[in-house]
């Protein structure tokens, strides 16, 4: 389970970060009573963790969203 072929981490990290960050921020602010700064904090943390958590490329977006939503839920109740 811990084997990590290259596709388990983003191949173009800067493009990945730039693309994912606004999507993740929107996801949090649309579902939780959290401000953009907090949402950005959470999104940044998730993106950092994604660097060490091996996730197949095809599941990466779902993993990011699920992890972010769990994190946001702990910070704030859902609307």
């Amino acid at each position: 389970m811990r084997s990590v072929p290259s596709q388990d981490h983003p191949q173009q990290p800067e493009a990945f970060y730039r693309a994912q960050l606004p999507i993740l921020i929107d996801l949090v602010t649309s579902r939780f009573d959290l401000d953009e700064i907090t949402a950005e904090d959470l999104a940044h943390e998730i993106l950092l963790v994604s660097l060490v958590h091996p996730v197949p490329a095809e599941a990466r977006e779902a993993w990011l969203r699920a992890s972010l939503l769990y994190a946001a839920e702990r910070r704030s109740p859902a609307r």
Binding site: Y17, R18, P22, E45, L51, W63, A66
Partner: protein
Amino acid sequence: MSKKRTPDPERLAEFLAIQKRLERERAAAATLDNLLHTTPTRRWPVLAERPDLQTCGTLERLGKLVADEVGRDPQRAQAIAELAVSLAEAIPAHAYPPMMTAHVRAHAYKDLSTTRRLLGHNQESLDILTRAEEQLGDFGALEHDRAIIRFSRAVTLQELHRYSESMTLLVACREVFRVHKDERRVMLCGLAEGILLQRLGKFRESRETYLLLLAGTNMTDEDRAALHKAIGLCSIELSHFADAEANLTRAIALFRELGQPMEGLKAQAGLGRLAIRKGDVEHGIAYLRPIRRLFLQNSLTEEAGICALEIIEGMLKLRKAAEAEQLARLVIHEFTSAGLNARAISALGYLTEALAARNATPALAGNVREYILSLRTEPEREFRGR
């Protein structure tokens, strides 16, 4: 729709710096295999004091090595896992963002707990898993990691016969894996549920679980072969002999394609059991004899012994107690020569005495077989002869 946002430059810089650093660490960790190979195991604790090894890259590599070794040499896997825990604990406080450190520490402990479980120390394995989960603190973003650790706990709880707690965890973990689109672990949860149901003697429910998994898409050919074999064995217990034969035959073919002849042989042994259960006892015994010989030729003494116990069960059905006794004595000799678990040998001794006294039953042979199988995960378990 997302607004076009420019990321905070400092945060982007942090992300890219860590990514680059991890690349360097992963490249450096490529020499780790050789380092472990050339350093005596007794000196590995000293390696934990090296700052250049106290990195996420090293811990990733060690995690892979544990996964590779755990099926082959659990003792060595344990030594690697212990080194990983020491290194993880030694990572300086601000070396990485706290969540990253929590992640690598938790997985190091989780790997150690796996090795302890495989070596039969189930309670200690649970205690280590508690420490693994503690590393995750309150980080909601690490829920997937939390589920991975709890899945390990569910597997360990099964070894301690704490089935209801195990099932509760498996159901919860499967949902977390499903949400995170971790299809493989969803499948593993299903497999663990099937095994749990088998252990409870709920062969119908177990088979249904396996059949549902078989209908899934994200599995390897090895998984598929294992599922067909499991379905076949459940079907024997349900006296669904046609289904049993079809599934075991499919498993044999898949293992052959995978180049796993010994796994194929185990599935073939299932066909021998099937014949005996159907009442075609002479045929079943004749079928199992060459399989047993092949296990012995490949030094799979325990598998050969399990095969022999199936044959003994058949012989007792044919009232051939003298032949059964002779075979049982031969198996004791094989187990003793191979240095296998003394408890297994004692159980075989009990069976042999019953055979000599001519009051052994096919059920007793079956019990001894199940007991010896159980020693793989519970090497300290007591035998209760019936």
